[in-house]
C-alpha cells in the first residue's frame, strides 16, 4: 500500500472536504434539503474511501467496531431520548415546543438534536455493515495491486 | 346458595386438599367423610333447578334436583364411601385424588341440568379415572390407560359435537328427554353409547378395568357406566332402539364371561350384561321400566362392586386374578368367600337379595308390555348371569381345583367394606320398600309374590344343578391362560395393521408424487429462469427462486380475480 502514492494523496485531498460537506448537510437539515440520513451516509463514505485506500485494518484502527456499535446506540438514544425529554417537559413524545419559549427555536433545536442522533446512527451503522462485509474478503497483498 | 355450588365442588375441593392431610388414619377418615359432605349438599332439597346462571347466552344449571338425580347421586355417594373404606390400606395420593375427582365428576354430571355442564363432568370422569389405571404403573396398564383415555375423551368430543348440533337445532342446551331422529340426537346417543358400552362400543371396559389397580377396578366399576345409564334414562327414555341394543348387550358378553380366565375381566363382562338390562329398561320407558332400570343400576352398583371387591381382595392377597392360578381359597379366605357368595346370589337374583327386587322390575315391565322375545332374551341373560358370575366365578376362585394358595384373609378395611356392601345387598333384598320409595316414578310393585319367588328359586336351583353336573363331567369350557379376542382386536390389531399398510402405501405414493412434482417444479423454475436468463443470486439458489415464483404467481392470480 505504501507505494501507491497517487491513491494516498488523492484520498487525503478528498476525505476532509467530504467530512466537512457531511457536516454541512447535517446541520442545514432543518431548513434545507439534507439531514441526518444523507449526512450520515456521506460521512461514512469518507471512511469507506479511507479504508479502500489504506485497507480495512487501518479503518478498524480509526473506527473500532466496538466504538461504532456504541456510537450507533448513542445515536438512537439521542433521537429517542429527545422524545423522552419532551415528555418529561410536559409535551407529547417528540413535541419540540417544550424545548424553548420561542416555538420556532424549539422546533429548530428539536430537529437539530434529533438529526444529530440520526446522523450518528446512520454513519456508524453504514460503517459497521461495511466492516462486517469487508472483513470477510481475502486481504490483498501489495503485489496483487 | 352460591352460583357455582354443586356436590362435585365438595369433591373437587376435597381432592385438592388431600395431599395436605397426613397419610394413614386421618387421610382414611377424611376420604370417608367427603361423600357425606357431598350428600349433605343435595339431600333434602326440594326438586327443582338450583344455581342456574348465564354463560355466553346459554342457561347453565349446576344443580337439578329430582328423584332420578337424587337416587343416582345417593347411590354414587354411598358407593364412593364404601370404596374409600375398601381402599383404607391405600397410601397412594394419586389414586386418592383421582378417586375423589372421578366420583365428584360423576355426581356432578348426575346433577347437571344442562348439556354443557354434563359435558364438562363427562370429560372429568374420563380424565380423572384414567389415573386409576395408570396408578398400576406398568407398561401394559399405561397402554391400556391410553386406549381408555382416547375412547373416553372421544366420547366427550362426540358429545360436544352433538351438543353443538342440538343447540343449533333446538336453541337450548337443557338436558331433557330427546327424540331420536336428528343428527344431533344420534350423535349424543352415540356418545352415551360409548360410555354405556353398547355392543361394539364396549371394549374399552374389558380392556381397561382389569388393567387398573386393586382398588382402582372397584372404583371404576361404580361410576362411568352407571352415569351413562343415568344419561340414557334422562335423555332417551322410551326409545325403542334401546330395547334391541339392550337385549344384544345383555346376551353378547355371556360367552366371553364363560371363557375368560381373568376373574376381573369375567366381572366386566357380567357388568356389561347387567347394563344391558338397564338399557332395555330405558328403552321400554314405561314408568315401571324406568324404575326398574334405576333400581337395577343402584342394586348393581353394590352387588357388582361387592364382587369386584371380593376378586380384588383375592388379587390383593395372592397377586393374581387368573382362574387357572386360583381355587380352593375357601380354606383361608372364608369371609371373602361369604361376601362373594352374597354378591353372586345378588347377581343371580336369588330372592332376598338386591338383584331379585331390581331385575324383576325390568322383566315385569317387559312382561306387562307383552314383549315376549325381549322377556325371553332377558330371562336367558339372567340364566347366563347365574351361570358365569353366580356360579362359575365363586367356584373357580374359592372351590375348584386347589391352587395350593394359602393367602391370609383380606385386611380389615376390605372386609368391613365388603361386609357393609353385602349387608346392603341383603337389606335391599329384604326391604325393597326403601329402595322403591326413592325411585323416580310412583309405581306400586310387589316383588315377593309366591309364584315369582318360587320360579326364581327354580331357575337358580336348576342352573346350579346343571352347573354342578357339568363341572363333575368337565363339560364347561375350561379356564385357560389365554386372551379371548374381542372387539378391541379391531383397534389393537386390525387397525394398526391397516394403518401400517396404508402408511406404506401413502409413503410410496407420497414419494412418487413428490419426486414427480419436485422434478416438474424444478423444470418449471429452470425454464422460467432460462427464459429471463439472469445470473443473480436469486436464480442460483433455487428454493428462494421458487418462493418468489410462488409470490409472483399468486399476485398474478389475485390481480386477475380482483379485476374480473
Amino acid at each position: 500500500m505504501e507505494h501507491h502514492s497517487i491513491l494516498r494523496v488523492v484520498s487525503k485531498l478528498l476525505i476532509p472536504p467530504m467530512l466537512v460537506y457531511a457536516l454541512y448537510v447535517q446541520f442545514h437539515g432543518e431548513y434545507s434539503p439534507g439531514g441526518g440520513f444523507q449526512a450520515g451516509v456521506v460521512f461514512a463514505a469518507a471512511f469507506v474511501l479511507y479504508s479502500l485506500v489504506h485497507g480495512i485494518d487501518a479503518l478498524t484502527k480509526v473506527a473500532p467496531p466496538r466504538i461504532l456499535h456504541i456510537l450507533a446506540g448513542i445515536g438512537v438514544l439521542i433521537f429517542a431520548g429527545t422524545g423522552l425529554v419532551t415528555i418529561a417537559l410536559g409535551d407529547a413524545y417528540l413535541g419540540y415546543y417544550a424545548l424553548a419559549e420561542n416555538p420556532q427555536h424549539a422546533q429548530e433545536w428539536g430537529i437539530v438534536v434529533v438529526e444529530l442522533g440520526v446522523g450518528m446512527t446512520v454513519a456508524t451503522v453504514m460503517l459497521s455493515i461495511f466492516i462486517a462485509f469487508a472483513s470477510h474478503t481475502r486481504k490483498l497483498d501489495n503485489k496483487d495491486w | 346458595m352460591p352460583e357455582y355450588y354443586t356436590p362435585a365442588l365438595a369433591y373437587i375441593a376435597a381432592a385438592l386438599l388431600v395431599p395436605f392431610v397426613p397419610k394413614g388414619f386421618l387421610r382414611g377418615l377424611y376420604l370417608l367423610l367427603v361423600p357425606v359432605a357431598g350428600v349433605l349438599i343435595f339431600w333434602g332439597l326440594t326438586p327443582g333447578t338450583y344455581n342456574a346462571f348465564n354463560l355466553m347466552g346459554m342457561q347453565i344449571g349446576l344443580m337439578r334436583v329430582d328423584a332420578l338425580s337424587q337416587i343416582f347421586g345417593l347411590a354414587f355417594s354411598l358407593a364412593a364411601m364404601l370404596a374409600a373404606l375398601y381402599a383404607w390400606h391405600l397410601r397412594d395420593t394419586v389414586q386418592q385424588v383421582a378417586t375423589l375427582l372421578y366420583a365428584g365428576s360423576a355426581i356432578g354430571a348426575v346433577f347437571a341440568a344442562d348439556l354443557i355442564t354434563l359435558f364438562v363432568f363427562w370429560e372429568g370422569t374420563a380424565i380423572a379415572s384414567v389415573f386409576l389405571i395408570w396408578a398400576r404403573r406398568t407398561e401394559g396398564s399405561f397402554a391400556a390407560g391410553m386406549r381408555y383415555l382416547v375412547i373416553q375423551i372421544g366420547s366427550g368430543v362426540i358429545l360436544i359435537a352433538g351438543i353443538v348440533l342440538y343447540y343449533r337445532e333446538m336453541g337450548t342446551i337443557s338436558f331433557t328427554a330427546m327424540e331420536l331422529g336428528s343428527p344431533a340426537t344420534w350423535t349424543i346417543l352415540a356418545a352415551i353409547g360409548i360410555k354405556c358400552a353398547f355392543p361394539f362400543l364396549h371394549n374399552w371396559m374389558h380392556d381397561a378395568y382389569p388393567s387398573a389397580t386393586v382398588t382402582g377396578t372397584v372404583i371404576l366399576s361404580i361410576f362411568t357406566t352407571k352415569l351413562a345409564v343415568y344419561a340414557l334414562l334422562r335423555g332417551f327414555p322410551g326409545t325403542e332402539l334401546l330395547i334391541y341394543i339392550g337385549v344384544a348387550m345383555a346376551l353378547f358378553p355371556i360367552a366371553f364371561a364363560l371363557l375368560e380366565n381373568d376373574l376381573r375381566r369375567v366381572l366386566t363382562y357380567s357388568l356389561n350384561s347387567q347394563l344391558g338390562f338397564m338399557v332395555v329398561g330405558a328403552g321400554i320407558g314405561t314408568p315401571l321400566a324406568i324404575n326398574g332400570a334405576a333400581a337395577h343400576a343402584v342394586a348393581s352398583i353394590f352387588y357388582q362392586g361387592l364382587l369386584f371387591m371380593a376378586v380384588g381382595a383375592i388379587l390383593f392377597r395372592t397377586g393374581t386374578a387368573r382362574a387357572t392360578a386360583l381355587g380352593g381359597l375357601y380354606r383361608t379366605m372364608p369371609l371373602t368367600m361369604i361376601f362373594c357368595l352374597v354378591g353372586a346370589a345378588s347377581i343371580s337374583a336369588l330372592p332376598f337379595t338386591s338383584g331379585f327386587v331390581s331385575k324383576s322390575l325390568i322383566l315385569s315391565a317387559a312382561g306387562y308390555d307383552k314383549m315376549f322375545y325381549v322377556w325371553l332374551a332377558l330371562l336367558a341373560a339372567s340364566t347366563g348371569a347365574i351361570l358365569h358370575t353366580g356360579l362359575r366365578l365363586p367356584y373357580l376362585a374359592f372351590f375348584g381345583s386347589d391352587g395350593s394358595l394359602r393367602p391370609k384373609e383380606a385386611p380389615g378395611g376390605m372386609l368391613l367394606a365388603m361386609a357393609l356392601t353385602a349387608a346392603l345387598c341383603i337389606l335391599i333384598g329384604v326391604f325393597p320398600g326403601a329402595l322403591y320409595a326413592l325411585l323416580p316414578n310412583d309405581v306400586k310393585y310387589e316383588p315377593y309374590t309366591f309364584s315369582h319367588t318360587i320360579v326364581q328359586l327354580q331357575l337358580v336351583a336348576f342352573v346350579a344343578l346343571a352347573f354342578a353336573w357339568a363341572v363333575g363331567r368337565g363339560l364347561l369350557p375350561k379356564a385357560e391362560r389365554s386372551t379371548i379376542l374381542d372387539f378391541d382386536w379391531t383397534y389393537r390389531r386390525l387397525l394398526p395393521s391397516i394403518i401400517r399398510g396404508l402408511r406404506r402405501l401413502a409413503g410410496a405414493v407420497w414419494d412418487r408424487a413428490s419426486r414427480n412434482i419436485n422434478s416438474r417444479l424444478d423444470n418449471l423454475v429452470a425454464a422460467v429462469f432460462q427464459l429471463h436468463g439472469p445470473q443473480g443470486p436469486i436464480a442460483r439458489t433455487w428454493p428462494t427462486g421458487a418462493m418468489v415464483m410462488m409470490v409472483a404467481l399468486l399476485l398474478g392470480m389475485t390481480l386477475v380475480l380482483t379485476y374480473l
Partner: protein, 502 residues
C-alpha cells in the same frame, strides 16, 4: 408520576424497548443484558396491561406524535383490538425472556448475547409499533424494524446449525418482497387519497369510489401481509426460519410475528378498506378462503411426515394460520371473533410447544422426534407440557384450542357452510396424528441405551408451564379472551361499511 406518564403510555409502549435496545447493546455482557431486557419487557407488559384495561370498555386512545394532529402527524391509536394484540406481544416477550437465559446461553456464544438481546428488544419494539400505530406508512417502518431484527435473530441460530443462515436469507428475501408489496400498496392508496392516517384513509377511500389503482393497492397489501403472516403458498420461508432459529426466538416469533401480521391484515381489510366494494369480499372469499382451507390440510399433512419437532410445529403453525385466515375470510362477526381469539389462543399454545422443543434441545440435545424415544420418563414435566399443548392444538375441550374451533365452527354454521365445518373437524384429526406421533415416541418407545437426559431447568420449565397453564385457564374460562375478541370484532365490523348492511 403516574399522572405524568399515563397520557404517554402509547408512546412509551414502543419507545421503552426501542431506547432500551441500544442500552442493552452497550451493556456488553450476556447476563446483564438479559436482566435488563427482562426488566424492560416486563415494563412493556405492564404498559400494555394498562392500555388493555383502558380500552376494554371500548374507549379509543389517540396519541399524537410530536403534538401534530392526526391526518398530518403520526397518530398512535389504541382500541380494544390492538390493545389485545399488544398484550399478546408484550406478554410473550415478558415470558420468553426468562426462558431465554438458559436456552440462549447454550445456543449463542457469550460475547454475542448482548447483541442478541438488543435484536430481541428491537424486534419487540417493532412488533409493538406495528400494532399500535395508526399511520399506514409507520406500519411499514415498524414492520421493517421488527423484520430486520427478526432476520438477525433467526441468523443467530447459525452457531448451532449453519443452515440458519440460508433460512434467514430466504426469510429476508421473502420478507423484503412482502414489505415492498406492502409499501407499494400503501403508495397506491396514498396516490388515491393523499393521506396515510388509517382512519383518514378509511373515510377518503369511501368517498373516492372504485378505481383500478385502489384494487391494485388492495391486492398488493393483501399479498404483502400474506407473505409476512405465512399465508399458505407464501409460507415457504417459515419452516426453515422457525426450525433453525434459536429456541427462544422461535417461541417468541411463533407467538407474535405472524399474529401481528394478522392484526395488520385485519386492520387493513376491515378498517382501512372498509368493505365499500364488492371486489374485496370476492377476493377474500375466492383467494384467501380456499388457500386457508388448503393450508389446514396440506401443512398438517406435511407436519405429519416431519422428523424434526420444530419443523413439525412450524408446519402446524402454517395450518393454524389457515384457521385464522379462514375465520376472517368468512366475513361474519363470529368468524372474525374466532380469528382474533385464535390469535391469542394459538400464540399461547405454540409458544408453549416451541418452548418444549427448546427444552428438548437444551436437555436432550436434539429436536429430532425419532431421537426423543422414551423421553417421557426422563423429562416428565417437559413432555407433559407437550401433551397439554398438543391437546390444545388438537382442539380438545377445556383447552384454548377448543374455544377457537368452537367459534370457527359456529361461524361456518352461521353461514350454513356445513362442509367447511366438517373440514375444520377433519383437519383437527390430522393434528391428532402429528401430536400423537410425538406422544407415542416419547412415552411408548423405550429410551435408547446409554442416553442420559435430565429434566430441563426450572427457568425454562416455569415459563413453559405458565403458557400451558394459560392455555388451560383460558380454555376453561374463556370469558376475558372471548369478550375482548368479540368486542374487537364488532368494532371492526362497525368500522366497515357496506358488507354488514345487507
Amino acid at each position: 408520576m403516574m399522572a405524568l406518564i399515563e397520557p404517554h403510555l402509547p408512546a412509551l409502549q414502543v419507545v421503552i424497548p426501542l431506547v432500551a435496545a441500544p442500552f442493552c447493546m452497550m451493556l456488553g455482557r450476556g447476563g446483564l443484558a438479559w436482566i435488563f431486557a427482562s426488566v424492560v419487557s416486563l415494563a412493556t407488559f405492564v404498559i400494555s396491561i394498562a392500555l388493555f384495561a383502558q380500552t376494554y370498555d371500548g374507549t379509543i386512545i389517540s396519541y399524537h406524535m410530536g403534538g401534530w394532529a392526526p391526518p398530518i402527524g403520526i397518530e398512535y391509536r389504541v382500541d380494544i383490538l390492538n390493545a389485545f394484540v399488544l398484550l399478546i406481544v408484550s406478554g410473550s416477550a415478558a415470558l420468553v425472556l426468562p426462558y431465554a437465559r438458559s436456552s440462549v446461553a447454550a445456543e449463542i456464544p457469550a460475547e454475542r448475547q448482548a447483541l442478541f438481546y438488543t435484536a430481541f428488544l428491537l424486534c419487540v419494539a417493532g412488533l409493538l409499533g406495528v400494532t399500535i400505530t395508526g399511520d399506514a406508512f409507520n406500519v411499514f417502518v415498524f414492520l421493517e424494524i421488527s423484520s430486520l431484527a427478526t432476520y438477525a435473530l433467526v441468523a443467530s441460530g447459525a452457531w448451532a446449525n449453519k443452515r440458519a443462515l440460508t433460512a434467514a436469507y430466504n426469510y429476508l428475501i421473502m420478507g423484503t418482497i412482502g414489505a415492498t408489496f406492502f409499501v407499494i400498496g400503501i403508495g397506491m392508496l396514498y396516490s388515491v387519497t393523499g393521506t396515510l392516517n388509517m382512519a383518514d384513509l378509511a373515510v377518503r377511500i369511501a368517498d373516492h369510489g372504485d378505481s383500478s389503482t385502489l384494487r391494485m393497492g388492495f391486492v398488493l397489501i393483501l399479498l404483502g401481509i400474506g407473505l409476512k403472516l405465512a399465508m399458505f403458498p407464501l409460507h415457504l420461508w417459515l419452516p426453515n426460519a422457525y426450525a433453525y432459529a434459536p429456541s427462544a426466538v422461535t417461541a417468541f416469533l411463533a407467538a407474535t410475528a405472524t399474529k401481528v401480521a394478522v392484526y395488520v391484515m385485519l386492520r387493513f381489510m376491515f378498517t382501512v378498506l372498509g368493505f365499500d366494494y364488492e371486489f374485496q369480499a370476492d377476493t377474500l372469499r375466492m383467494v384467501v378462503l380456499p388457500l386457508a382451507i388448503i393450508a389446514m390440510f396440506a401443512a398438517s399433512l406435511v407436519a405429519i411426515f416431519q422428523d424434526d419437532l420444530k419443523r413439525m410445529l412450524a408446519y402446524s403453525s402454517v395450518a393454524q394460520i389457515g384457521y385464522i385466515l379462514l375465520g376472517l375470510s368468512l366475513l361474519n362477526e363470529t368468524g372474525i371473533t374466532a380469528s382474533i381469539v385464535h390469535l391469542f389462543n394459538h400464540a399461547v399454545t405454540k409458544a408453549a410447544l416451541f418452548m418444549v422443543a427448546g427444552c428438548f434441545i437444551f436437555s436432550a440435545g436434539t429436536s429430532s422426534i425419532s431421537k426423543l424415544a422414551g423421553v417421557g420418563r426422563d423429562m416428565p414435566w417437559t413432555t407433559a407440557a407437550f401433551v397439554a399443548g398438543g391437546l390444545s392444538l388438537i382442539g380438545l375441550p377445556l383447552t384454548v384450542g377448543f374455544i377457537s374451533k368452537w367459534y370457527l365452527v359456529l361461524a361456518t354454521l352461521e353461514l350454513g357452510w356445513w362442509p367447511v365445518a366438517l373440514m375444520i373437524m377433519a383437519s383437527s384429526l390430522l393434528a391428532i396424528i402429528y401430536v400423537w406421533r410425538v406422544v407415542e415416541v416419547a412415552y411408548l418407545q423405550p429410551a435408547p441405551a446409554g442416553v442420559t437426559r435430565k429434566e430441563a431447568p426450572l427457568s425454562m420449565l416455569i415459563p413453559t408451564w405458565i403458557f400451558v397453564g394459560l392455555s388451560v385457564w383460558f380454555g376453561v374460562n374463556a370469558m376475558l379472551t372471548a369478550t375482548a375478541a368479540g368486542r374487537a370484532a364488532s368494532a371492526l365490523i362497525g368500522s366497515s361499511h357496506i358488507l354488514w348492511k345487507d
